[in-house]
Point group: C2
Chain length 201, copies 2
């Protein structure tokens, strides 16, 4: 099972992901990204990122070895397929934390993944702010409404929406979603059918 | 949100449902069934069942007021629509615990419900038993395989499969499924859209 955590920039995806993997006993594997940027002090190849050259990254793109990628400023960032397929083949679930554009690339290639959208808490608070219009200028409110439309538009392409009101809350909800998704009939059915297939041998 | 717990007879649906509602703080409502059978000592109308006459029940069927129903021996059992719609309209989730035939009636009328299939633990253990064939007679094994096929066939029409290995485990999984389903984008989206609709007023 492929689990994808994404959300608008600044929502705190990285913080939530770190909090999940700081906890012991996770039975899913974090997918390490590949990048062409230089390692920062303390960053290790194969732990924080797979650090590769621009040529190697572009070669990976051309040979279809990237599940998703993007270019920021002058560097590539992306998810190599090899690591993910190896982990899934070993029977482990994979956890990706990526930008919304990347998540949509993954959705198109792996529609059976679990797509979780992390929502900024002020999207929920917007209603309160609209009710108490006096406290914000019209400009501030209109800007927020515009941002809300774009966030809700993104959200439509996901399976779940988790509000990042407090990191421990969001972490717990995400882990519950993962546990529940494992109980989906569409996911457990192949095991049962395989078992019955064995019974006919 | 309509939550339907079902499963093959004898799997322990009633025990699991009672364990769920014995816990305090559930934010969903148990749907009380309607029946034409006589109340047993201690049973209360409107608590254990809605006790009605055969005429009243058949009138409910004919006027489309039953979400599902069945006849066992000489008595009707079923789920009245009125109670469910009132609870849902009040913004509360409704929990049904019913037989598989009833669950399929509900699925056809309310496809957006959450359908949970309680699985007997020996379905999972079947594989072990098949491996150690020596311990069971062929007749016992074939009977169990036949039963397994029918259980898996039923399961296909549900969203989730929860193994009833230990009641507290099953209870926790069901509650996690309910909490996760509330985070589904298809369920939270109307709230967000309504909020944005308000913002245009």
């Amino acid at each position: 099972m492929l689990i994808v955590l994404s959300g608008p920039s600044g929502v705190g995806k990285g913080t939530v992901r770190k909090a999940i993997f700081d906890q012991p006993g996770n039975d899913f594997q974090y997918s390490i990204s590949m990048t062409t940027r230089q390692p920062r002090p303390g960053e290790k190849d194969g732990v924080d990122y797979f650090f590769v050259s621009k040529e190697e990254f572009e070669n990976n793109i051309q040979t279809g070895q990237m599940l998703e990628y993007a270019k920021y400023v002058d560097n590539y960032y992306g998810t190599p397929l090899k690591y993910i397929d190896e982990t899934l083949d070993a029977g482990k679930d994979v956890f990706l934390e990526i930008e919304v554009n990347g998540a949509m690339q993954v959705r198109s290639k792996r529609p059976d993944g679990v797509f979780i959208f992390l929502t900024p808490p002020d999207l929920m608070e917007l209603k309160q702010r609209l009710i108490h219009r006096g406290t914000d200028s019209m400009e501030v409110i209109n800007k927020r409404i515009h941002k809300a439309f774009s966030e809700i538009e993104m959200m439509q392409n996901y399976d779940y929406a988790v509000v990042n009101d407090e990191v421990p809350n969001a972490v717990e909800k995400i882990k519950e979603i993962i546990r529940s998704e494992r109980l989906r009939v569409t996911r457990v059915m192949p095991d049962y059918l395989e078992m019955l297939g064995d019974s006919n041998k």
